[in-house]
Amino acid sequence: MKKSVFLGTLSLAALAGGLASAATLDDVKARGVLNCGVSTGVNGFSAPDASGEWQGFDVAVCRAVAAAVLADPKKVKFVSTTGQTRFTALASGEIDILSRNSTWTFSRDVDLKFTFAGVNYYDGQGFMVSKALGVSSAKELDGATVCIQTGTTTELNLADYFKSNNMSYEPVPIETNAEAQQQYLAGACDVYTTDASGLAATRATFADPENHIVLPEIISKEPLGPMVRHGDDQWSDIVMWTLNALIAAEEYGVTSANIEELAKGTNNPEINRLLGTEGDLGAMFGLDKEWGKRAIQAGGNYGEIFAANIGESTPIGIARGLNAQWTQGGLLYSPPFR
């Protein structure tokens, strides 16, 4: 049975080799489905539900792009990638967007030849301890045993932080978040350190979350965002401005509840341009007028997506913090739609 696939793929490979690779937008439109790389499962950010539908904060970005480009947020094929396979999958064209809580760093942007289309979540590394330990600041953690995922930037950040504060620690290397939970709860380590969003999600699953606290210190910058390949500016613009549209919608008070009303025209020209009732911004990158409206309709504006997946009403319960609008003291700041 494999042979026929083999043949099919071989002939397909031969065919594709003859064609020059077209622009990503044209490929996606021709295919009729957006290939989106997500993680194999990060609580609140991407996970399949009981019916196999992918849900989460990173997933919502892909749905919004699919809605903008293909007019249907369901037309996304989610490809689960691991830490090792994610960049190759993007570089080889297996996926069109990588939306997999990947940190924006210099070398990933420059050396790996990817473009970050903005930041959808500002994260940072934190510490979680049991309340019984009686610690209220990371500065008091001298000599602690720390559960730490091996081979990640968190491991390096931890070493830097303890060194610069003249403290010592004993690392307990672990492989996955699930393993870390088991080890931490079993008392194998005093402290568990990973990104603050991950700590909040982990703490939410404990039988006794009130007995554990996340310390106030955040020791690293982890701006997470969707990535695309270098060299296709039209496509990176589409992803970037779709994300900006979600952020701007929150700033201007456009929600999934009032969007139909506002799309009939308002006296705010910025909203009108965003929703396509004035001007034709979409045509500038090969989409129609209503791309922004559809992107917002897919899952609501940035604030709604945040609240539905990881916000304070969910068990994960993350406060907006740095991820609030710039008007609310956060870092979200969409350039103008003009």
Partner: protein, 429 residues
């Protein structure tokens, strides 16, 4: 004349029951559990150990909660007591078994699995009608069509390759058996490489309605994925392994060098490296935009890996045959392939059964390594399920379920191998 001697008994005494210590449970326990001081100590320690485990795990199983939609609900029901939360299995069993396969199409993998048993029956058991072997030959195409769907033509055209190969063999067998054998291998490969793809597509376009809904590899997952990779790898690695083993013992230098090089290379490299090659490196070699199915890539790598080990297992069987068997085959005037088919292989394979089945079981369990390249096999799905807010924090329940599924499969393979060994036992050692 009868004389009575005072000291001779003239009446037999009734039979005494055996002493209490020599019958029933007491004797069994004495013989098996308390036959000496060391064994007695070990027995007591074992009982204590089992009791300790039961005391700790028992409540966890006894309090198990099946009717819950989230871990939080489980905890609410348990109210602080320890207990398993098997609600996750009830909620997600279909995902662990079928991955993201569309629910309204579950009948397809089910039917494929049932037909797989039918196809395997004539290969495994001698009492099954021999005619069924024809169905076994057809099964790869049937299984592929059921699982992946799409037009019915590509699998049919691929099957036709076998017929073409047989026709070439039949046409040439009168002239030379070597030429016929080579043609029987080369012609189908050429067919599959150059004819079957375009022809299948052309026929599919001519009759668009004929087929099942096409389901992409990205929707495959769970235990179904393990079985697909495992069964295909097992089915392909045995013949490939036999050829490699024969090649390694061949007198033809080139064949020998290629086979030895292949076997030693594959055995020198970890499977996970090969899987990463399949997942990452091949993408760079293939032209951009080409879509070389990831499951197919993994199956090829797993098959090559298992074939190298299989070759060495079978070489062990070949080495165990006395030289006289080869000479006897020569003396009967059998050519190489006939000798292999009638005399050498039946004995060598029989000797290697434990090793072969061991390799099969190893291969089947190795399929869980695909989790590292992002395929959602049961292990991968367990972490995906844990990433759902409802079930984050659940751990042992999922692994128990997955472990039980794997145990059923591996244990039945192992029992079958014992049955086969017993049945084929002809020597009187």
């Amino acid at each position: 004349m009868t004389r009575t001697i005072a000291y001779v008994r003239n009446q037999m005494q009734g039979q005494e029951p055996p002493p209490v210590s020599q019958i029933g449970a007491i004797r069994w326990m004495h013989e098996n559990l308390f036959s000496g001081p060391l064994n007695s100590i070990l027995t007591i320690l074992s009982v204590l150990c089992v009791g300790w485990i039961a005391q700790h795990i028992g409540p966890w199983f006894l309090n198990a909660v099946w009717n819950a939609d989230s871990l939080a609900e489980c905890r609410q029901i348990l109210q602080g007591e320890t207990g398993a939360c098997f609600g996750v299995i009830k909620d997600r069993w279909h995902q662990l078994l079928y991955g993201f396969y569309p629910q309204d199409s579950y009948w397809r993998p089910n039917l494929a699995a049932a037909l797989l048993l039918v196809a395997l029956a004539p290969l495994l058991f001698p009492d099954v009608p021999r005619k069924l072997i024809w169905f076994s030959l057809l099964y790869p195409a049937v299984g592929f069509f059921l699982l992946w769907g799409g037009s019915i033509w590509p699998p049919l055209v691929a099957l036709a390759g076998l017929a073409v190969g047989f026709a070439a063999y039949a046409a040439l067998i009168k002239t030379s058996s070597l030429a016929a054998t080579i043609a029987a291998i080369i012609v189908p490969i050429l067919w599959w490489l150059f004819v079957s793809g375009p022809l299948g597509d052309a026929l599919a376009q001519a009759t668009p309605g004929l087929g099942l809904r096409s389901i992409g590899s990205d929707e495959f997952g769970g235990f179904m994925l393990s079985i697909i990779i495992g069964v295909t790898g097992i089915a392909l690695s045995l013949p490939l392994g036999i050829l490699l083993a024969l090649g390694r013992k061949s007198d033809l230098l080139l064949v020998k060098v290629i086979c030895v090089g292949f076997i030693e290379f594959i055995r020198g490299v970890p499977l996970i490296t090969l899987l990463f090659t399949a997942s990452l490196l091949l993408n760079y070699f293939l032209p951009p935009g080409s879509n070389f199915d990831i499951i197919l890539r993994v199956i090829i790598m797993v098959t090559l890996f298992a074939a190298a080990y299989m070759a060495e297992v079978i070489r062990g069987g070949l080495a165990a045959l006395p030289r006289g068997q080869y000479e006897a085959a020569d003396a009967l005037g059998l050519d190489y392939w006939k000798a292999q088919q009638l005399i050498i292989m039946p004995q060598a394979l029989k000797i290697s059964i434990p090793g072969i089945v061991g390799t099969f079981i190893g291969l089947f369990k190795d399929t869980t390594l695909v989790v590292f390249i992002g395929l959602l096999d049961p292990i991968g799905l367990s972490s995906a399920i844990r990433a759902d807010t409802d079930w984050n924090g659940i751990y042992w329940e999922l692994f128990l379920f997955i472990g039980a599924l794997f145990f059923i499969f591996c244990f039945s393979m192992s029992r079958y191998s014992m049955y086969l060994e017993k049945k084929l036992k002809t020597d009187h050692r």
